[in-house]
Amino acid sequence: MNRFIAFLLLLSANSDARKFYNDDPLLREPKPLRVAKVQHHEISNMFDFLQNTFAPPGEKQSCARLIQGAAVNTLGEVPDSAWYHNQNTQSIPLEEIVRGPGNTNAPSLDAPWQILSAKTEGVTPGFQIKDAKGRKYLIKFDPPDNPELATSVDVISSRFFFAFGYYTPENYIVRFTRSQVAIAPNTTFRDPQGRKRPMKPRDVDDLLENVPKDKEGRYRAMASLFLSGDIIGPFRYYGVRLDDPNDVVPHEHRRDLRGLYVFAAWLNHTDAKSLNSLDCLVSEGDLRYVKHHLIDFGASMGSDSVETKRARAGNEYFVDLRPATARLLTLGVYTTDWERFRYPNIPGVGNFQAKTFDPEKWKSNYPNPAFDNRLPDDEFWAARKVMALRDEQIRAVVETGEYSDPRAADYITSVLIERRDKIGKAFFAKVLPLVNFEVRDGRLAFDDLNVLYNFAPARAYQAQWSTFDNQTELKHAIAGGNDFSVPPALAAAATGRYFSVDISASGDRKTMTVYLRKRGRDLDIVGIDRRW
């Protein structure tokens, strides 16, 4: 079914081949088609793990043909869509990055919250509640031995992922007493033994029994505001939704999902899997479409939601045969630097560090088809956004975790800064990290991110200007066009003509091409291709 749709889309795409259209680069995808009917589906945690570990789904990269990141514009950027919204992370004011997806809808304490359902699986309990204003929230708690561990990272990471452009829920740190929670009429409850029955006040007491309290005797929790729209289940990191006409790019090739690897690595969000995503059928006026969200960040940084993260997390998959074989053959003598690392004992932080963090070797808990398909330009796209975060922005977002131990915020901030810089160094080295192209004073100007972030000294680049045929994609070198000055011949070129500049550096096989289109007297940057 997926292949058939892909085939049809291929036919459609080939019907009018040209590299650039007049509206390139597209900053926003066209309005989605109205979705009439979609199916709610579930994803089984165990099946998802087994499938991705032992029979990874989706189209994979091959040596013969690299599949470029898709759902991108001609500059390699991800346009605004139902998956993604662009934000310039560097220029986001502090109050805006702290606000994240929203900070004005914390659950009201004016009247007791009504418990609609409760989760008892696992070590930490959870509630679904309705507040006095009728808003619904998911309430989650910290592990008994690690107050502030999971609730903080859920709040912090939701803001970071929102800043990077993903749709995330509004998460709040809340404190309440036992009298703040009541049971809504007809609330049923599945007890720890799996029996479903009406919920009683005693059940609430039991659920709260192991929840850590603060000095004032209040419970601390994370309240996640329900997403708007009808919930239709998680998205998969491969294929497309068969019932959504707007979902035409296989997820394993979406740049926003491939690049998510870098953001997840930075935040050590090892549980970046389908089950921690959510599609909602949302309405905007007459329009109904599927909006895609990331949810549940309790297993990021040093937290694994119900306990501190184990040293393995972020370094090996649950089932990772290569290191397992090494340990088997050496009878356990083979060790890695992350196994030997000594974590600081800060209960609210858990096991999180930057010293042995290698951005290219980071791993989620089990393989993710989109992560596995990532290419250097997918990584570069994301790494730019991570590097754009300033120290004070990181600090401000970390403080939304409301740590009572000042060491926790200090430590996490310093680790995130160190991990950010490692990400920049690692992924800027894999392509020519030249950005911010514009024609200024008769020259093609740009910034070298390696120089901007002091990763490497400035170096010389070579340029070759060419005319570019938009239909055939053939290039013809322009005589004398071998530096960054705009060749004089371009002045006489007609509006709509295309030109390209091939950029290289001596001794480096990485190259890139910048495409320009004549508009009156101006030259607009319309495309960028990076090669490595």
Binding site: A36, M46, D206, R310, F318, G332, W338
Partner: protein, 401 residues
């Protein structure tokens, strides 16, 4: 064919719009969406995909593993060497684990079986008191016996049948969360009969003089115990220790020939390093028996060594005598999540007299094994062990210690 026809029809009706020119990137995207929209049937996934994600696997896993209330499959739990045991187990929890009831029936194809029931009240008086009741009926028709003492010969392997009915109870206090002090006692009926194995001779033919072989009796046993258990989890510990000292008086109620006292001591220590990726697990265990004036310890209540839980390089129940000492060391490391490897060495001995229980003349073995440890509980264990008496392979459903 029906699907093929539908696909061809769909393609034909799509050809017209496909041929249309698009003049912008936005139009191109819209045309892709329109193309897909024409084909949609409102179905998101196949029945197989839906089934795979329906949670069926999780339900099967839950059924096979411990955790929730209800009926499930229980494997293992019979003495080593009796074969693979499995059967249904029912569990019911009252309140917030104020009381837990469990009952099971497990058997092997070799006709060994164990039925048991247990009621635990672990959280009395705010978790400061505990009370347990346990009852079992077991029949093991082919238990091995090699004769008493450390010098018993492998060639003299025999077998016997042991039937056992027991009612036990224990109660005590928990002055600290990790410390238990209590008393336990119960009534036990044993019946020893000819072994049913065709491979080796019945023990009553070779060892008719051994105490307990010919005459059967019942016991009342009682005694105090103290346990300090600060392991991080009891199923598959990574760190901490477990120290147990137990004293029992066995009183022969029928024959007045087999009364004795017993002291059991066990020390377990788990030493993690490299972020709990490596664990040194150590155990020292000793059982001392002292028969009352002129009486004997029946052979089936003597401590034994050999098998999946102590001297793994020796056959199950290889050595019996009044006293036993065993030392185990394991180096455990995760191969990957859920599968752990261990390299181990065991040493131990039995003796008739307490004074002979020392570190000389220990029987030794070594080996390696694999364990599945999902969550914090041990699953399957496969150990291969080697001693001067040959190689042994053990399949069990819990850790050796």
């Amino acid at each position: 064919m029906k699907l093929l026809r539908r696909m061809i029809a769909g393609m034909l009706c799509l050809m017209a719009p496909l041929a249309a020119q698009v003049n912008s990137r936005a139009e191109l995207i819209e045309s892709e969406r329109t193309t897909k929209a024409r084909y949609l049937k409102g179905v998101e996934e196949t029945r197989w995909t839906a089934l795979a994600h329906s949670g069926l696997l999780l339900k099967i896993f839950d059924t096979l593993s411990a955790g929730k209330d209800g009926l499930r499959l229980r494997a293992g739990g019979l003495p080593p060497g009796t074969g693979f045991a499995a059967g249904p187990e029912y569990r019911h929890t009252f309140g917030n684990e104020a009381a837990i009831f469990r009952a099971s029936a497990r058997g092997t194809i070799g006709r060994s079986y164990l039925t048991d029931a247990e009621l635990s009240l672990p959280r009395l008086a705010g978790e400061h008191l505990f009370l347990d009741f346990y009852a079992q009926r077991a029949d093991y028709p082919r238990l091995r016996y090699y004769g008493p003492g450390p010098s018993s010969a492998l060639a003299e392997a025999a077998n016997y049948r042991l039937e056992n009915t027991a009612f036990e109870s224990s109660a005590g206090v928990k002055p600290l969360a990790r410390l238990k002090i209590g008393v336990s006692g119960g009534y036990q009926v044993y019946n020893v009969g000819p072994g049913q194995s065709h491979d080796v001779v019945s023990a009553d033919r070779l060892f008719s003089e051994v105490p307990g072989m010919a005459r059967q009796t019942s016991f009342v046993r009682a005694g105090p115990f103290i346990q300090l258990d600060y392991r991080d989890n009891t199923g598959s510990p990574n760190k901490g220790g477990n120290y147990l000292l137990r004293y029992f008086t066995y009183s022969d109620r029928d024959l007045r020939q087999f009364s004795f006292t017993r002291i059991e001591g066990e020390l377990q220590q788990y030493i993690p390093f490299f972020n709990e990726r490596r664990i040194i697990a150590l155990r020292a265990k000793s059982i001392l028996s002292e028969s009352h004036n002129g009486q004997f310890v029946p052979f089936y209540l003597q401590p034994s060594l050999g098998g999946a839980y102590d001297l793994r390089g020796f056959p199950a129940f290889r050595y019996y005598d009044n006293n036993a000492l065993v030392l185990n060391g394991e180096y455990r490391f995760d191969l990957f999540t859920g599968v752990r490897m261990a390299i181990f060495a065991d040493a131990g001995k039995v003796s008739g007299r307490r004074q002979e229980l020392n570190f000389s003349g220990l029987k030794k073995d070594y080996g390696f094994g694999f364990r599945s440890n999902i969550g914090n509980s041990a699953g399957l264990r496969l150990d291969f062990a080697f001693s001067r008496e040959g190689a042994q392979a053990w399949l069990a459903f819990d850790d050796a210690f």
